[in-house]
Amino acid sequence: MATPEADGVPTAEEETPPSPGTSAERDLQAVDLDIREGRFQRWLALVAGLSSILSGGEVAYEHYKGSYSRRIMYTPVILSEILMVCGVGGFFSPRIARTLLPAVSAITLLDGTVGFYFHVRGVQRKPGGWRLPIVNIVMGPPLFAPLLFGISAYLGLIASFLRRNENGTAEGGILPLPAHARHWGKALGGKHEPIDPAQDVREGRFQRQMAAAAAVAAFLSGAEAWYSHYKNGFRYKVQYTPLVVAPMLMIAGAAAVKSVRVAHTWLPAISALAMLNGGVGFGYHARGVLRKPGGAKKLLYNITYGPPIFAPLLFAASGFLGVLASLLRRKPE
């Protein structure tokens, strides 16, 4: 199941000189090269910011359904907005991308973890607690949603390590590593700068991490899809599709950690499928919202109580991680 993405990826060489062709092809190759070499900080910061709108919207109406009955339920809504600003800011300013963006992203990731704890506790607090796991996971607070909320923060954090693609050449490499990246590199076990993990990320050599992240995200959003669609009794056959695609993406992501071949073939193909699936799901969810009584005339209410309109796009985000992984380089063995 090869896709154009997989075909378009150069395989072995570390450097690909700009090849002749139409200008569109040259642009594509330039983008590809930028990603391979970690020179896409601007774009990834923007993606982190924009995806933060989705997860922020999702958490806003989900927590609205919970009436914000705990003050901590505000934090993801507020953080997602700040992250959105930082992500967009990081697109324009290298300073923001190297300082504010990683700080806010780290806080957001922490917030997601704390949220996960509260959601576990929420399930436990329901009658029967963890002794009735299926009922209480399905009917309780969405268990993995807080971790999924961390995807955009993860992207933001990654973006802060990268180089910028000004002038389309290796010029981005002139800037020294940001301070936090040096600390992270040391913390992660690097002895000195050029070969520590942060430098690998900086140069686009983190395919394995990204593939693993895609697998984890696929697990989380697949589980979300399972218990949310279960709640609706799988009324439509199409509701099964994310449950089929998610394990495929998990396996492909895990295999890509081991195998460069999978990383360049199956992973992008299945990731593209996941993105397509998420897009179609978004369409169905939007239709579901409009089909509720009152339809567009009670739009806000129906978004709150209709199918979660942004959830399929978060599923698609795990596919995005997979596609991104396939475009990166690996750390030399």
Partner: protein, 583 residues
């Protein structure tokens, strides 16, 4: 395995007194000794008495509160069953009459701690600003001695204390939002939204209703099982039993359940000095108090005043104006039922979850003053059977067949304002109850305006039901919610109490319940009763010992106190415009 891996199920037959599924009454209740004088004797623990007792206790007053019924343990005493919940209603003997006699009992009065709030549907809309001035605006009824602005901060506070779930923007009257999120729709709410949007009528989805939409502290959120008016065993629906009474007890108030107050005792200097009551064992006892507050609702409050007639007040206590018992109001509560092709299953979800107040205000194009609201109602099978009997004359096999069709029916309620009439009143009948006290005789007639309003309103509701897609639409005439019968006003000649609930005749006798409302609007009265109670409490607290010592009336409105709310009022719920709250 004695202790299961992930913890034990919580046992419902453990020792603690349960208030809902999770809340327990842990604090021992203070007991006042026989013959000990207290500051306030409060008669009734419902929307008015419960809130007042909680606040007075919190402010440090010595309070004893009486209720004629039991102190419910929701796990032990309540059943989720339509027939099994009759103990919640005031079903003692009463006499009803007039041209449009009211059905008394399950629909309008409660017994036991929490009063009617244990079986209200918990719809909690506010009155509109116009409701306070219907005489000036429309030339009907009477003006309140208060303005909407006087009550608004208390509405906001009560909406936090219950708390009230509802849309973030509620467009009618004084537009506002609600602290807890809107509820999901049941089948009836879906039908109301469909019908209203088809006709271009704005509709409020998911509230306002005093039912938790997200959990709060030890009260779980609603699970949409539909037994709201049979007593919410979940503890999601607000009632003073679970919202205010526990805090009153924690602050030293004594709740005397199963105690029927028989009369208020008049001492010297035209001041009351306590109440006589029948204790749980049926003996008549006396509680000495520096001041008395009656919160028995629109039938029992005037009945108690009339039963307390004595030298100097031969027509009834505080009844020099002959207004006690008069101007009783009920709201037009016609139920419109529609049959749908698709199942509706109206037993699911709270009966109260969507409404429109689009027709609330006086419309010059109509030939009557004031207006009405349209609300969801979700009768369970026994109520449904009664409605079918009344609406279609169904009986025998035909009724059985209709009942088998229950799942296909939806019902909307009209909630229309009926104006106050002097001849609609509570009097004493010749008959006596089990304590030997004369029972209440309730007379109710409709005026011209009321009939026109009901006629127009019920047709409008039927139109909405048709627009929702119902193939057959029927309706039953019915009345809901009592208010009035001891109304407040500035003129002692035409009203019983002043604007702080103090009787014009007796300086240390107060009334704090729905009976003091001069008019009723088309809003369910619960939230207004609670807000007035909180306002009266603020007045009593700032007056302090002056109430007990002198007959002087200070008519200064005191500032609202935000420090008397029960725990967990603050720190939960939606961001909302708090401009009135912080000013």
């Amino acid at each position: 395995m004695s202790s299961p891996l992930f913890g034990k199920f919580r046992s419902p037959d453990g020792k603690p007194h349960m208030l809902g599924a999770m809340q327990t009454l842990d604090v021992p209740m203070h007991r006042y000794a026989d013959g000990e004088e207290v500051d306030y004797a409060i008669v009734g623990t419902g929307a008015g008495g419960g809130v007042l007792a909680q606040r007075l206790a919190r402010a440090g007053f010595r309070v004893v509160t009486f209720d004629a019924g039991p102190f419910w343990d929701t796990e032990r005493d309540w059943v989720s069953d339509e027939k099994g919940s009759h103990q919640l209603y005031w079903t003692n003997r009463r006499v009803t009459g007039g041209s449009h006699p009211l059905a008394l009992g399950e629909n309008n009065s409660g017994q036991g701690v929490g009063g009617s709030t244990v079986h209200w549907a918990s719809f909690t809309p506010r009155l509109h600003p116009s409701d306070f001035h219907i005489h000036s605006l429309d030339g009907v009824g009477v003006d309140w001695p208060l303005d909407y602005a006087d009550v608004r901060p208390y509405y906001e506070l009560m909406e936090l204390e219950l708390p009230v779930s509802g849309p973030a923007y509620f467009p009618w009257g004084d537009p506002h939002g609600y602290p807890y999120g809107a509820h999901p729709m049941g089948g009836v709410g879906d039908a109301l939204i469909r019908g209203c949007t088809a006709l271009g009528i704005p509709v409020s989805a998911g509230g306002p209703v005093g039912i938790l939409e997200g959990s709060r502290a030890d009260r779980p959120h609603c699970i949409y099982r539909g037994f709201c008016i049979q007593g919410c065993k979940v503890g999601a629906k607000a009632s003073t039993l679970i919202t205010h009474v526990p805090d009153a007890i924690a602050n030293g108030a004594e709740i005397r359940a199963n105690c029927m107050v028989s009369r208020v005792a008049l001492g010297s200097n035209r001041r009351v000095n306590g109440v006589f009551y029948f204790g749980p064992d049926g003996r008549e006892l006396f509680q000495k108090a520096k001041a008395v507050v009656i919160a028995g609702y629109s039938i029992e409050t005037p009945r108690l005043l009339l039963n307390s007639a004595c030298d100097g007040f031969e027509n009834g206590l505080a009844n020099s104006s002959d207004t006690v018992g008069r101007y009783l109001m009920a709201q037009a509560g016609n139920v419109v039922l529609g049959r749908f092709d698709q199942p509706v299953r109206m037993y699911k979800a709270p009966p109260a979850h969507a409404l429109t107040e689009e027709f609330y205000e006086t419309d010059p194009k109509r030939d009557f003053a004031r207006g009405f609201a349209i609300q969801t109602v979700g009768p369970l099978p026994i109520s449904f059977a009664k409605q079918m009997m009344s609406a279609k004359g169904a009986w025998g096999w035909g009724l059985r067949r209709l009942l088998m069709d229950y799942n296909h029916w939806a019902s909307f309620g009209l909630l229309g304002e009926i104006l106050p009439h002097a001849e609609n009143r509570v009097q004493l009948a010749d008959e006596k109850d089990q304590f030997g006290l004369p029972v209440a005789k309730v007379t109710f007639n409709l005026g011209d305006n009321d009939k026109k309003l009901i006629d127009f309103g019920k047709n409008k509701v039927m139109e909405v039901m048709h627009a929702a897609g119902a193939e057959e639409v029927v309706q039953e005439a019915r009345y809901a919610h009592l208010v009035g019968a001891a109304r407040m006003g500035n003129d002692p000649q035409t009203s019983v109490v002043d604007r702080f609930g103090r009787t014009h005749d007796i300086a240390n006798l107060f009334i704090c319940d729905g009976s003091i409302m001069p008019t009723q609007g088309s809003a369910n009265p619960g939230l207004t009763v609670m807000s007035l109670a909180a306002r009266i409490a603020d007045y009593l607290i700032i007056q302090g010992n002056a109430i007990f010592a002198s007959d002087k009336r200070d008519m200064q409105t005191s500032p609202i106190r935000y420090d008397l709310s029960p725990p967990d009022t603050w720190g939960h719920g939606m961001p909302r415009p708090v401009n009135h709250l912080v000013s």
